[in-house]
Symmetry: C2
Subunit: 223 residues, 2 copies
DNA sequence: CGGTTTTCCGTACAGTGCACGGAAGGGGGA
DNA sequence: TCCCCCTTCCGTGCACTGTACGGAAAACCG
């Protein structure tokens, strides 16, 4: 009886039931662990204990996976609760920044692919309605929303490249020295000091944000 | 006389003398023509009629080439002439945007790599000294510079992904329709109209920039 | 002329995204 | 119960990537 349970291998490596969600979750985890450069379809499949080509049942391409992963993490931002528009925007944009810091591969992706996923659209809706409620409309409204999201994307992108560059403490010291010497010929004392000493991105982010919001305030209709 | 000029092959494929500049120039041309995705060391070498590995005499890695190409195109921005700080910044940042539009692969790169090349440093110096002359200093100065460059980077990045998405006219119509339907459930009339109809990036860019500059003005010391 | 250094580059290797087509399993109809 | 189809899984193969290595050729210098 060669088909006896004792000879059959029912415990053969249990097939993982793949789903799109499982794939996306694993993709986010892989990107967090290895960064955008270390992300590959083979590595993703391995993490799911599946064959590489199995992924392509649920997804048309690697780009699909990245788009889905991107919208997934955008969904980590909490829905906006009611409140005065300025505080609301500060909270939402601070959370955007935190998401991009938790998932440092995000800014490079947003610089490449349009954000059209449902969570991204929902986020954009929050900005539009907050600023519309504040009193903006038309081209000014569009420009204000664009400015805010451009700012947060651009800010975290450069923040991330900085953290990447100085990842290890030795590298930190070395790079800071090099940058300092690098800038020496060009920049006057004040600016150099500021540049090399700007470890406090939190404060700088909020300062810049306040700057923009103050600019927006000057555009509000009187009353 | 087998060595007669008639039998020798002095016109054998003339060795191109490679130099770092020639490589960088060709890299920019290749990136402009094929985009960041189509750029490869083999394609670059072919464009220079050289063997792939010859490049590595002048450059340690592909990343080196990209860094050099990046700083090269940043150098296309004209040096700042003297003038009132606000006009100066508008001119410089408008030129930054134009460079990034001419070379659409730039924003994705700046989102990945720190800008430490000589031309990038010179550019940063311009911003610092303009705003210092305007009256800013310390953390506010750093934040203002960071805000402006984050804004321009972020703005052009999203502008570029939009142009990419709607590259062909058919795609344009189709995408606009899809985006419009996509947003239908979520966004109220006003915002949707603005979003779908925002082809005029030039105006939007200047509006957002003015917004930020007005915010900066509120930070100037009295007098 | 001889030797050293610089430049060029063919080959090879480990890795990539994904097209193709086959196998295995589950579900439904006869 | 048998058969067929359809979904899911995935091994193999292809064209391509960056670049390590080492050899050949050329250029320069004594």
């Amino acid at each position: 009886m060669p088909e006896s349970i004792w000879f059959r291998d029912d415990d053969r490596p249990r097939r993982p039931r793949l789903t799109r969600e499982r794939i996306v979750t694993a993709a986010v985890a892989l990107l967090d662990a290895e960064g955008g450069a270390g992300f590959s379809m083979r590595a993703l499949a391995a993490r799911l204990r599946a064959g590489t080509m199995s992924l392509y049942e649920y997804v048309r391409s690697k780009e699909d996976v990245l788009d889905l992963a991107l919208d997934e993490v955008i969904g980590e931002i909490e829905p906006a609760e009611a409140g005065p528009w300025r505080e609301l925007l500060v909270r939402q944009l601070t959370q955007s920044r935190q998401v991009m810091r938790r998932h440092p591969w995000v800014p490079a992706l947003t610089a490449t692919r349009p954000l059209l996923g449902p969570n991204a659209v929902a986020r954009s809706r929050v900005f539009y309605s907050a600023l519309a409620e504040a009193g903006l409309s038309g081209a000014t409204l569009v420009a204000a929303v664009g400015t805010l999201s451009s700012y947060v994307n651009g800010f975290v992108a450069s923040e991330n490249t900085w953290w990447d560059t100085v990842r290890t403490p030795e590298a930190d010291a070395e790079i800071r020295g090099k940058v300092s010497r690098h800038l020496d010929d060009h920049v006057d004392e004040l600016a150099r000091h500021a540049q090399v000493d700007n470890g406090d991105f939190d404060a700088q982010f909020l300062l810049g944000l306040d700057l923009i919001l103050d600019g927006i305030v000057t555009r509000l209709p009187p009353g």
